[in-house]
């Protein structure tokens, strides 16, 4: 277990398809987080940017891009890329700097202007890039992988497409209450069933869209928080950024094949399970302590997978947990009360940060209509392309 860091401020730019540059969203989110923290930008000792790779040249140096836009003031600067886990790695870098005494207060920012339609690799012929190869050789988009997982769950655990649709119904109902969400309309199971199949058995409303958006956090040492009159702030107690262990036997983005288990027995736990376990161990809490969870519902079926990987229920029991209402608002362990990616869509460098923003507001009791009463412990979970794991546990 490591020491806590304080979350002094959280901010977002609302998500949608706004058609502007990612810097604008990031700066808006950063200013909102600084205002929320009551911290002047010139007091910030370090800025960590989560990179977008589709925004052109400035995306690769997101930390400096945001620092320039906010006004150069000499802060330490870091830029992080870890695909969907970029935001969590940015939080991790910020936390490490605070705990090591390199900085007292750190601004973490992620933002993106997403392209329309499927994500795809950068241009050019690049046969040494697994991400390029899966598109070129197989036409395998992200939703095709989600479709494979969904079909596998149906075959192994007996999940149904109606179960998957109920995840969308649940998350859309929460998203309708969230002013930062892109989609703010309730969805019915009939509407999910009537939407077009994208990757069998998943339909358009089972799969998250691509979006523009931004999210930011102001993190500080506990000592700095006390000095600023915040003796009892939301605290980050764990950040898990583990990688998989060989042999990785679940086919995953962007790979064409799994590792072979012919020479080494597979680990007892899957990669996603290990992401959560490391977070729980670091925080000294377990699934029974959680008040809420924010997980990557890239597809509705994938949210069910996370229930099991987070230990909210045993393997194969996720659909049952959903049907019981345990993961809905008012249930034993509400999942994605923010509305999740179902309501936000993907703004890759921002979304893991946005998950921590939601925990922060929930743990403060500031989440308005979507507040989980008495929330004390929250977890986020996601996973980035190429084996980036990420989970954050925050407490009050």
């Amino acid at each position: 277990m490591t020491d806590d860091v304080a979350v002094l401020g959280a901010g977002m730019h609302p998500w949608g398809k706004w058609g502007r540059g990612f810097v604008e969203y990031g700066v808006a989110a950063a200013r909102a987080a600084l205002a929320d923290a009551g911290v002047d930008w010139r007091e910030v000792g370090s800025i960590v940017g989560a990179d977008t790779v589709r925004g052109g040249y400035p995306g690769y140096v997101a930390g400096a891009t945001f620092a320039k836009a906010l006004g150069w003031q000499g802060a330490r600067v870091t830029s992080v890329y870890a695909a969907c886990a970029s935001g969590a790695q940015a939080v991790s870098a910020a936390r490490a700097q605070i705990l090591s005494g390199l900085a007292d207060v750190v601004l973490v920012v992620g933002a993106d202007s997403a392209p329309k339609g499927f994500f795809r690799p950068a241009g050019g012929d690049r046969p040494d890039d697994p991400d390029w190869l899966r598109f070129r050789v197989l036409g395998a988009t992200n939703p095709t992988y989600f479709g494979l997982y969904a079909r596998r769950r149906m075959a192994v655990h007996g999940d149904t497409v109606e179960d998957f649709a109920q995840v969308k119904v649940k998350n859309a109902a929460s998203g309708a209450l969230n002013p930062n969400a892109r989609y703010r309309k309730r969805v019915t199971a009939e509407e999910v069933a009537a939407s077009a199949v994208v990757a069998d058995p998943l339909r358009l409303l089972d799969i998250c869209a691509t979006s523009d958006g931004g999210a930011a956090l102001v993190l500080s040492s506990m000592e700095f928080a006390r000095r600023r009159g915040a003796p009892d702030p939301v605290r980050i107690r764990a950040v898990s950024t583990v990688s998989p262990r060989y042999p990785r036997t679940v086919l995953d983005l962007p790979d064409i094949a799994t590792d072979s288990a012919v020479a080494v027995e597979p680990p007892a736990e899957t990669f996603r399970t290990s992401i959560a376990r490391v977070a729980y161990e670091e925080a000294g809490v377990g699934p029974e302590d959680l008040s809420l969870a924010e997980v990557y519902d890239l597809s509705t079926a994938l949210e069910l997978q996370w229930y099991e990987d987070l230990g909210l229920c045993s393997e194969g029991e996720a659909a049952k947990l959903l049907r019981e209402g345990a993961t809905a608002p008012g249930g034993r362990i509400p999942v994605n009360v923010s509305g999740g990616l179902a309501s936000f869509g993907e703004a890759v460098p921002a979304q893991a940060i946005a998950q921590v923003c939601e925990l922060t507001w929930q743990l403060r009791g500031d989440a308005g209509d979507r507040q989980v009463p008495g929330a004390r412990v929250g977890i986020t979970a996601n996973q980035g392309l190429f084996g980036h794991g990420s989970s954050v546990i925050a407490v009050r």
Binding site: G139, A155, V198, A261
Partner: protein
């Protein structure tokens, strides 16, 4: 584009991977630089033909035309292709591939036996790009 990933004709068509001489780990797509088993001292990586048959781990399809670098003719209407992840028992590996043309998700079940067959990824006036396809055993189309 993917030279050395498969070889052979007709019934002899096989996916090609590599096998580590020190720990026997198998790699597909082929790994020619270093064995990726973290506990392996590192051995020579020799080419190995993978099993020709396996069982369906899962399957899906693409109802929308995938973006580039996938190559399709935008003049033609899009025909969804099934994608099948296949478990090869001897190698204890799962390999993703397209189904043979004409086999759709309605023809597939998890656990079904499939075999690897030569296929065409794309053709233009001068070149034919070959690939591998999975075909349910017993289907000859």
């Amino acid at each position: 584009m993917v030279s050395g990933w498969f070889a052979g004709d007709g019934n002899d068509f096989r996916l090609l991977g590599t096998r580590c001489s020190a720990c026997a780990s198998v790699f597909f797509p082929r790994e020619d630089a270093h064995c990726r088993n973290p506990g392996c001292p590192g051995g020579e990586l020799a080419e190995v033909a993978l099993s020709g048959r396996g069982r369906v781990w899962s399957y899906t399809d693409s109802r929308y035309r995938p973006p580039s670098p996938y190559v399709t003719d935008p003049e033609l209407s899009w025909e969804p292709r099934a994608l099948i992840a296949v478990e090869l028992a001897a190698e204890r590996i799962v390999v993703l591939g397209q189904s043979v043309p004409g086999v759709t998700v309605a023809d597939l079940t998890v656990g079904m036996e499939v075999e690897v067959v030569p296929g065409v990824l794309n053709e233009d006036a001068g070149t034919t790009w070959t690939t591998w396809h999975w075909r349910p055993t017993g289907v000859t189309a």
